[in-house]
């Protein structure tokens, strides 16, 4: 993929992700994160050339909640602003495209989600096909369990491997002060099909923000910008029975179009809320044992819905900023059973 301009992630901030956040509104949860990422990149509130956010009103049951969240960004005099009813990673995609057009040199991208306000399993049924699937009210773990069973039936994994995925992510999260489940977490009883509670993500509230900048502006804002070399998103058919659940075809296609297979990556932050999905994504994204996968602990350690995908991009970029990675893959997913996938390739300059 050839990009008309060089655009990089130059700043990242996130909340400590928690099971509940009744003491703060979404705006109040977001404010410290916005302040931190703007301070880090030297931007004043309202100064970014473009602002784009990701969130869903269904999570907390508040209509137009994204307009309230705008209280936190300094939206007067009027700013150029957009919102996607999706994970913030898709807001990052829109902001990246905006920067590629040359319309502006900086963008603020943020996401917030308060899953604790509602019954997340019930809320997420509302994203399903309304004719044949949503009326049955299957939760995300139910559907992920159908996928995990299909993977086990295909001989591509077993419960021992799934438990190892859970343990590895939560062990990695020991070094992540923002994660919710850190260290040893019991696998627990079966929650759905072959999946135990330990195979499933926690319910998390949280927020995250990144700043994107182009060219020399990026170099001024950040010692080692995480240049976005490619970014693409693809979607599988809606019907769960229309696709092979043991594969993530759209993830593979997005990775291919993002240029992920053009050169090896040393790090990958992948958005796999359920253990079996990491097994599927490692295959689809061709991540071998030499790649450091989810050093943050991934979504199994903290899964603020609408935020966790953007966090993957932030975490991957932060490792490049710190000189811990040279070329990293970042991935976000949306919908049931890895239906929709967004893949980016980030690079640092120099060794």
């Amino acid at each position: 993929m050839r990009c008309p301009r060089d655009v990089a992630i130059v700043g990242f901030a996130q909340t400590v992700h928690r099971r509940t956040s009744e003491n703060v509104s979404e705006t109040e949860m977001l404010l410290p994160v916005l302040r931190e990422v703007l301070d880090r990149t030297g931007l004043a509130p309202g100064e970014a050339g473009f602002t784009c956010s990701g969130s869903s009103d269904y999570l907390a049951g508040r209509p137009f909640s994204f307009t309230l969240a705008l209280d936190g960004v300094g939206a007067w005099p009027p700013i150029a602003e957009s919102h996607v009813e999706m994970d913030g990673a898709w807001a990052l995609y829109e902001a990246w495209v905006e920067l590629l057009t040359g319309a502006t040199d900086t963008a603020l991208v943020y996401a917030c989600g308060k899953s604790s306000a509602g019954d997340l399993d019930a809320v997420l049924t509302r994203q399903l096909d309304p004719y044949c699937t949503a009326p049955l009210w299957p939760g995300p773990a139910d559907l992920a369990a159908l996928q995990a069973q299909a993977l086990i039936d295909a001989g591509a994994t077993d419960e021992t491997e799934l438990a190892a995925v859970a343990a590895r992510n939560r062990a990695a999260a020991r070094d992540n002060p923002y994660a919710q489940l850190r260290g040893r977490v019991p696998m627990g009883p079966r929650r759905a099909g072959p999946l135990r509670t330990g195979d499933c993500p926690p319910v998390s509230d949280g927020a995250a923000a990144v700043v994107l900048a182009a060219g020399d502006t990026a170099r001024r804002m950040c010692e080692r910008p995480a240049w976005i070399r490619g970014l693409d998103h693809r979607i599988d058919p809606q019907g769960l029975g229309l696709r092979d659940l043991t594969e993530a075809s759209s993830a593979r296609l997005a990775a291919e179009h993002a240029g992920a297979f053009d050169a090896p990556v040393d790090t990958a932050e992948i958005h796999a809320p359920f253990t079996a999905q990491e097994v599927i994504l490692r295959r689809a994204l061709r991540l071998g044992p030499e790649v450091t996968v989810n050093p943050s602990g991934g979504a199994l350690a903290a899964n603020p819905v609408m935020v966790a995908g953007l966090v993957r991009f932030g975490e991957a970029a932060a490792r490049i900023h710190r000189g811990e990675s040279r070329r990293a893959l970042a991935h976000a997913t949306s919908g049931p059973c890895l239906q929709q996938n967004l893949v980016g390739v980030l690079e640092g300059e120099g060794p």
Partner: protein, 323 residues
């Protein structure tokens, strides 16, 4: 001072959805205990059917009847069914490829336990007693140790596009899908402080540390500057009507009779106007600049309405930025 407030919040949305020719035929078929698929461009029979080819996006209309028996392609035991799921007792979620179909349908399988379920097992539809033209007309699947039932799969005899639907009398053309979600609403720290003060009949805004303007009601951040507000300052109780409208159409479930006046009111000391109802004055006498004060009723968290104070009207220049 009391801590952050929470309150139960119920959101219900009974979506009414119209059906295209394919979904209409499929759901009408279920009502009549017939399962229809659609033939895709590559010859595969899709169940549940789609209106457009998932691979090529071409319009699909060729309906095909498939059998009410099939094979489990994957499954997941559900040990603790949740409200509104197909069965109240533990069951297996299953994807079932019906005989004559090439894709699988999601539903529930009634089985005594996970040991009784496996991928590849044979199942058949258990029809609901009351059928309305919905996916829930299939009550669930049940184990069925038999071969595909002869004569029920007509793979080689596709129905003509279009005419099929007319074989059903009174086809289903739309569905209502009620949904209810229960929340615990948490307004956050700033609004909790505001509501706590209101309970004492005091209206307390918060001052922006950057522009010094007072936000009422406060939401924790100055919407102009994007910075946190923490300095509390009491405003009002008197204020000025900055603009208003006369409401002539009664809202459903509203307890107030029309006509009434709904106004923007800039409380003294506030730099934002808030909303309130004006009473104690004929509608046609309400005007911009009218001075008003809140009227509280026992047990209410908010002023019931605002009424004229009798003071001279405020000059336009004093509120022109607060319309």
């Amino acid at each position: 001072m009391s801590g952050p407030l929470t309150a139960p919040l119920v959101v219900e949305f009974p979506f009414t959805r119209s059906l295209g020719p394919v979904q209409s035929a499929f759901l009408t078929g279920l009502r009549e205990r017939v399962v229809l698929g659609v033939r895709a461009g590559d010859g595969r029979v899709l169940v549940p059917p789609t209106e457009y080819d998932p691979g090529t996006a071409e319009e699909l209309r060729e309906l095909v009847e498939v059998a009410p028996t099939g094979t489990v392609t994957t499954w997941a035991w559900n040990p603790a069914p949740r409200p509104r799921q197909p069965l109240p007792t533990p069951f297996a979620w299953v994807l079932v490829r019906l005989d004559g179909a090439d894709t699988a349908l999601l539903h529930a399988l009634d089985a005594p336990g996970p040991d009784a379920v496996r991928t590849g097992m044979r199942v058949r539809v258990r029809w609901a007693a009351d059928r309305t033209g919905a996916i829930t007309d299939i009550a669930c699947f049940e184990p069925y140790e038999g071969e595909p039932r002869e004569g029920e799969a007509h793979e080689d005899e596709p129905y003509e596009s279009g005419p099929y639907i007319r074989e059903f009398t009174d086809p289903v053309t739309g569905i209502t899908t009620p949904a209810r979600l229960d929340y615990t609403y948490a307004p956050g720290s700033a609004q909790s402080r505001y509501l706590a003060a209101l309970a004492r009949h005091r209206i307390v805004g918060e001052r922006c540390p950057a522009c010094r303007r007072v936000c009422v009601p406060p939401r924790g951040a100055c919407p102009t500057c994007g910075v946190a507000t923490r300095e509390q300052t009491e405003v009002g109780p008197r204020g000025t009507v900055t603009t208003y409208c006369v409401v002539n159409i009664k809202a459903r479930n509203a307890a107030i009779d029309v006509p009434y006046v709904y106004a923007h009111i800039a409380l003294d000391g506030a730099d934002q106007a808030l909303h309130g109802r004006i009473a104690g004055i004929p509608c046609d006498r309400v005007r911009m600049g009218l001075r008003v004060e809140p009227v509280w009723t026992d047990g209410a968290r908010h002023p019931d309405h605002y009424r004229p104070t009798g003071e001279p009207d405020a000059a336009y220049d004093t509120y022109k930025e607060l319309l």
